[in-house]
């Protein structure tokens, strides 16, 4: 795998065990905990109880809607797992998550490389700023705007028709065969700036000598990308991809406000299913169960991911 390929320059990354030694010797054993303390206290204090509650809800029936919920053990879980709607939502979530993250990565990284190029600083500022635009509008506006654009008589159909690419206007968000693709398009558009900005920042810490050394060896653009940029930015890519995966896995407002899971349930993902269970059906226990299942899947994935990250260090 390219990820494991050795960089051509000096390997800066982590071997320096003596370094840790040095830091550790220089400080009391409590130091790292002090650094972490404020963060853990805030997260623990504010999210500890709610997270516990959600797990508790999933073990009771009629929470929130009745004053005295009944303990039902794992019944909610067996209900959920025997519901075909859950499995199709899980599959849709998988498609949506992988598609979106790939879209974000490809578009975000390419644009980051382009706006990092050696061009006039003022032009660079303008391009960089314009390209983050998709990120700075609230989801409701993004969704409504795309509904206008993708309407059968909207401007996209009109232009595609005028260019002779389509004969009939397409119902991008209402056609069962197109809806998921349209959603991926919107999600990619909405999400790439995060990757672009993060990646752009990461690019600044790649020592220029590495590229120059690679150029002397006759490396072309893609070689440099795979053998210099990617290995150097591994920590950043790891972080960004992890966050983007978790984030997209439970992305709610954009999907709900654009297609509402439809037509039928072809774009129903776990987060919209969870919402539907909670606030359309008022089955809060079942919604909590779906939420815990999202938590379990994400956590299992993250553990694997973190293990892999450490191994690659």
């Amino acid at each position: 795998m390219a990820m494991e390929a050795q960089g051509q320059g000096p390997n800066f990354s982590t071997r320096g065990a003596s370094l840790f030694q040095a830091i550790r010797d220089n400080s009391a054993g409590a130091t790292p905990y002090l650094f972490l303390l404020p963060c853990l206290v805030i997260l623990g204090a504010l999210l500890g109880v709610p997270l516990y509650k959600v797990v508790e809800y999933s073990l009771f029936d009629n929470v929130i809607i009745k004053p005295d919920p009944i303990f039902v053990g794992l019944d909610n879980y067996s209900n959920l797992l025997s519901d075909s709607g859950f499995w199709s939502a899980l599959l849709n979530t998988g498609i949506f998550t992988i598609g979106s993250v790939l879209g974000h990565l490809v578009v975000g990284m390419s644009l980051a490389m382009m706006v990092n190029a050696d061009i006039h600083p003022r032009a660079r500022t303008i391009f960089r700023s314009l390209l983050i635009l998709p990120w700075i509008f609230t989801a409701a506006v993004v969704a409504l705007n795309w509904q206008l654009l993708l309407n059968p008589f909207g401007v996209i159909n009109y232009w595609l028709g005028a260019a002779g690419i389509i004969n009939e206007p397409l119902d991008w968000l209402g056609d069962a065969n197109l809806a998921m693709w349209s959603l991926l398009l919107i999600s990619t558009w909405r999400g790439y700036p995060f990757i672009m900005v993060s990646f752009l920042s990461g690019l600044q810490s790649v020592p220029r000598e590495l590229y120059e050394a690679a150029e002397i060896d006759g490396a072309n653009f893609f070689h440099k990308f795979w053998h210099v940029t990617v290995p150097q930015l591994k920590p950043v890519i790891y972080g960004v991809v992890l966050l983007d995966l978790i984030w997209t896995f439970q992305l709610f407002p954009l999907v709900w406000l654009t297609t509402g899971g439809g037509p039928g349930r072809v774009t129903e993902v776990l987060s919209t299913l969870t919402y539907r269970l909670a606030f359309v059906d008022f089955q809060f226990s079942q919604a909590a169960t779906a939420a815990v299942s999202i938590l379990v899947i994400s956590a299992a994935f993250t553990i694997l991911y973190l293990r892999n990250e450490t191994r690659n260090k």
Partner: protein, 289 residues
């Protein structure tokens, strides 16, 4: 610009370089136009009467150019309050989250300690439950803390959403900085805090900026908790104000788009300003020692 052109005639290299730049400019212009088109459409909607937004064929350039929607938004004191609240909350969340997140990220990046992985997993786990299901119990906590219907309630809420991102992202950026830097500083007699502030942060400025941008926008765009945790009009934020324009019997398309566009202009200006610091930290910060 590379200077390895010993084997090629200098002129030839210059032409090549110019050509390369021209290609980049053209490509960037095309891609940017495509990516920005939906936003231009929003601006177009904000500048024309709604009947024209829905006319056929679709008019990108407004036939009847009008700034009514903008004057209605700007003339409304409530809306100005929404902007102010959103910016205040966003800035507070950004400062707190970057500061606290960077400290934790430094701990994760530069130390190996007992419980490290569990702590990291906990930080990430807090982001894995769909916020919609957290809403009711979280709401209970905020009411209990007496932070209900106040900007502090929103600040604390968004801090819990943004912190894990700050930690993970800053951890990634700090990991890209070679540990040689720390060693040099430690030999010079720096404390861990000194290493962080004097050596790593100057180099990690681009990372801090991208984390800050992320945090600010998270808070800027959030709607669900903004609506639930505030009640009085004085505490509402921009996304709530926008949602109010989607009524039971009608949608104020032009006003909604005008409101969004107006709100985003300061952000764009701010981003233009901070992105100047997204330059090679290695060059800018220099290597100490």
């Amino acid at each position: 610009m590379s200077v390895n052109g010993q084997t090629n005639p200098y002129r030839n290299e210059l032409v090549q370089e110019r050509f390369r730049r021209a290609v980049i400019y053209i490509a960037l212009t095309i891609v940017t136009l495509i990516m920005v088109f939906p936003v231009m459409w929003m601006i177009s909607v904000s500048l024309k009467p709604t009947t024209e937004t829905f006319s056929l064929p679709p008019q990108f350039i407004p036939e009847t150019l009008q700034f009514d929607a903008y004057s209605r938004v700007l003339g409304n004191a409530q809306f100005r309050g929404f902007f102010l609240n959103s910016y205040l909350v966003g800035i507070a969340v950004t400062l707190l989250s970057v500061a606290i997140g960077t400290l934790a990220a430094f701990g994760f990046s530069r130390y190996r300690f007992f419980g490290e992985k569990t702590a990291k997993l906990f930080v990430i786990t807090t982001q894995m439950v769909p916020t919609i299901t957290l809403l009711i119990p979280f709401f209970g906590v905020i009411v209990w803390l007496r932070l209900y219907d106040s900007l502090w309630g929103l600040i604390v809420t968004y801090l819990t959403f943004a912190l894990p991102y700050s930690v993970i992202m800053m951890n990634g950026y700090l990991d890209t900085i070679p540990k040689d830097f720390d060693e040099a500083a430690i030999i010079d007699g720096c404390t861990p805090i000194g290493v962080l502030f004097r050596v790593l942060l100057p180099v990690a400025t681009p990372g801090i900026i991208s984390t800050a941008v992320y945090t600010f926008l998270l808070s800027w765009n959030e709607f669900l908790f903004a609506l639930a945790l505030t009640r009085s009009t004085e505490m509402r934020t921009v996304p709530v104000g926008i949602a109010m324009m989607v009524g039971e019997f009608g949608l104020k398309w032009d006003e909604m788009m005008a409101f969004s566009v107006l709100g985003s202009v300061p952000i764009l200006v701010l981003f233009m300003w901070v992105q100047r610091y997204v330059v090679s930290g290695l060059a800018a910060g220099g290597v100490k020692g």
